[in-house]
Symmetry: C2
Subunit: 371 residues, 2 copies
């Protein structure tokens, strides 16, 4: 771990107390309200608008996640009734607001993969964090590449999805099918999010956050309570969950583990992914707890960031693989379409495996270099 900040497990360091938690929560609440104002001023919603207004809902979710995470990790220091009412509302909000972007990123990921699998290279738009290129060394594509120009309209515009001109019939049909299904899902998510933002439920959340921006409901003892033990407990939950992961397997390249259930009866169920998703959430809570203690939102430890990115990629590939498997169950598709979806599913499951390998590598480095 980087040592420029107090180490939460070091009892000799000057203790960071509940006051810091209050400061962090106030700051996040303020960020939430700023994002809400930005969103309302630009008058647009969510992901299918210009890049600037995207930042509104994204910043809203970002702050909601941090508030919610801090409420969880530092629960004993906060008014329990308030905290228990607040958390599910914040989870509902960030879940609802995140869906549209998730469907969009999933479609982009799948269409990019179809192009890669067809030997055509599309330069992925770089601004979308979920749709980032899947972490291969740059310049390694040796295939005779028909490089499509990068679309300058931004990754969130529907028209920025790669064209299917160079695909085979099966790949093109698979792409069209996925586009239809995921665009429909995204449109529904958009409507749901719009309704959510106009709902009395949302206004109640926003009101509570507005109060939080000035007045954090700490317990009487909290202002002088050391945050260290609670932050350490969050880290321990993470460490325990990581220890339960099959990291030895994941560290062997090409272990073929992620596709073991690729043709299992329930195509979209991958129970093996669950523990990794869980670690993703615990790692996020650990990072937020570190932010509270250091008072700094800039990532303190590049390895934690790398590990987080690997787990995000794991989640994205897992969901994309499930979407391909789901699309293959559409009635009356042609065998060529189904074949392309099978290749695509397997490709994304290998992305899952690659992400686990990347996490293992990042985590190993971290453990080796820890004090």
């Amino acid at each position: 771990m980087a040592q420029q900040h107090p180490d939460p497990t070091d009892p000799t360091a000057g203790a960071v107390t509940g006051e810091a938690l209050a400061g962090y929560l106030r700051a996040q609440a303020t960020a939430f309200l700023r994002a809400l104002r930005l969103h309302r001023e630009t008058g647009s919603t969510l992901a299918n608008s210009s890049q600037e207004s995207v930042d509104g809902p994204r910043a809203l979710r970002r702050a909601a996640r941090r508030i919610s995470g801090s409420l969880h990790t530092f629960r004993p220091l906060l008014d329990p009734g308030w905290s228990e009412e607040m958390r599910p509302e914040l989870a509902w909000l960030s879940g609802t607001l995140g869906l549209e972007h998730a469907y969009e990123a999933r479609l982009e990921r799948l269409l990019l993969a179809l192009h890669r699998l067809s030997g055509t290279t599309v330069i992925p738009a770089q601004t979308s964090d979920r749709a980032a290129a899947p972490g291969r060394p740059a310049g390694m594509t040796r295939a005779p590449a028909t490089t499509a120009p990068a679309d300058s309209s931004g990754p969130t515009a529907p028209k920025s999805t790669p064209e299917r001109g160079n695909l085979t019939v099966g790949a093109a049909k698979a792409g069209a099918l996925l586009e239809r299904q995921l665009t429909l899902a995204r449109t529904r998510a958009h409507s749901t999010a719009l309704q959510a933002l106009g709902s009395s439920r949302f206004h109640a959340v926003a009101d509570r956050v507005a109060v939080l921006a000035s007045e954090v409901p700490l317990t009487p003892a909290a202002p002088t309570t050391d945050l260290g033990p609670l932050a350490a407990a969050a880290e321990e939950r993470l460490t325990d969950a990581v220890a339960a992961l099959p990291l030895v397997t994941a560290g062997h390249p090409y272990n073929a583990e992620a596709l073991v259930h690729g043709l299992a009866p329930d195509l979209s169920a991958h129970p093996q992914d669950g523990p990794w998703h869980q670690v993703r959430l615990l790692l996020r809570l650990h990072r937020y707890a570190r932010e509270v203690l250091t008072g700094d939102e800039a990532p303190a430890d590049v390895r934690l960031v790398t590990a987080s990115q690997a787990l995000n990629r794991h989640r994205d590939a897992s969901e994309a693989a499930a979407a391909a498997a789901q699309a293959a169950r559409t009635p009356r598709i042609t065998p060529a379409t189904a074949y392309a979806l099978g290749v695509l599913h397997a490709d994304q499951r290998h992305e899952v495996e690659a992400a686990r390998f990347a996490f293992q590598q990042a985590w190993q480095k971290q453990t080796v270099n820890a004090p």
Copy 2:
């Protein structure tokens, strides 16, 4: 390289001359004739018989490959007319005799993969060199495994192919389709091989090999000519071909290179595999040349063996992937069958990538440790 044998590139070592080549060729010719006698005595042919008689044709091919390879590498030391007539005949023979086994091993590989992809584990029979398990660390399968008992009738009996009881409909149908197509191909290969063994062309080859067993047509200067430079040239051809491989890419796990053309218009063409197949052949020639120089058929260098095995696995997975893609073009298959074949194709292409990684690892070790 292991140093217990003379280093062919070391000018100070006692030179190995054409006499050693003659001895090697006589020994291989004798092995050829012994295999032929064994095959005729057991009265059975090729791969679909009991384990003992399998060794006949396999030993026949083994000797034929070594004679042919030595004729190529040490061509200047042998009567050119004889040599140029002999080589294509030996290539025809080992190609014809190898096909049946290749189809059988391919089917076994694909059915094992279908089981793995369905979350059921089948213990592969261990005696078949081409059908060996694809090199994962043992005991790593964490899936809830329905382990079928290993079939004791040997890997070459058609009934030893795994049962399809636990597969999904799509996987089962894909397996049945592949079994039908590859069994047909194998039956044809069997007939062709039987015809070949009864042909006058084969008898002419056998007669020539019988002569070779006692009388090697060396050039007049050959008995005192150092074999070193010709063996070194064979090694150099190998080294040059390896240097042209994309080993940097191959050394990055999960580079996703092997599937780049997974959905390209011509499904079964993978031009990127060609250079690797070529290296496989050159590596074999290099190994045979070492055998001639050391007078020892036992593998002198475990890393050369590891590299060879990786390239065999590369070839097998490449051909299996092509067979899955080919099967997916069968008219009137169901989408579920096509989907399973797509997953299977992608899985085998990742096996191709895994084999390249394994070769890169083996080769790197070799280069690092070479004097």
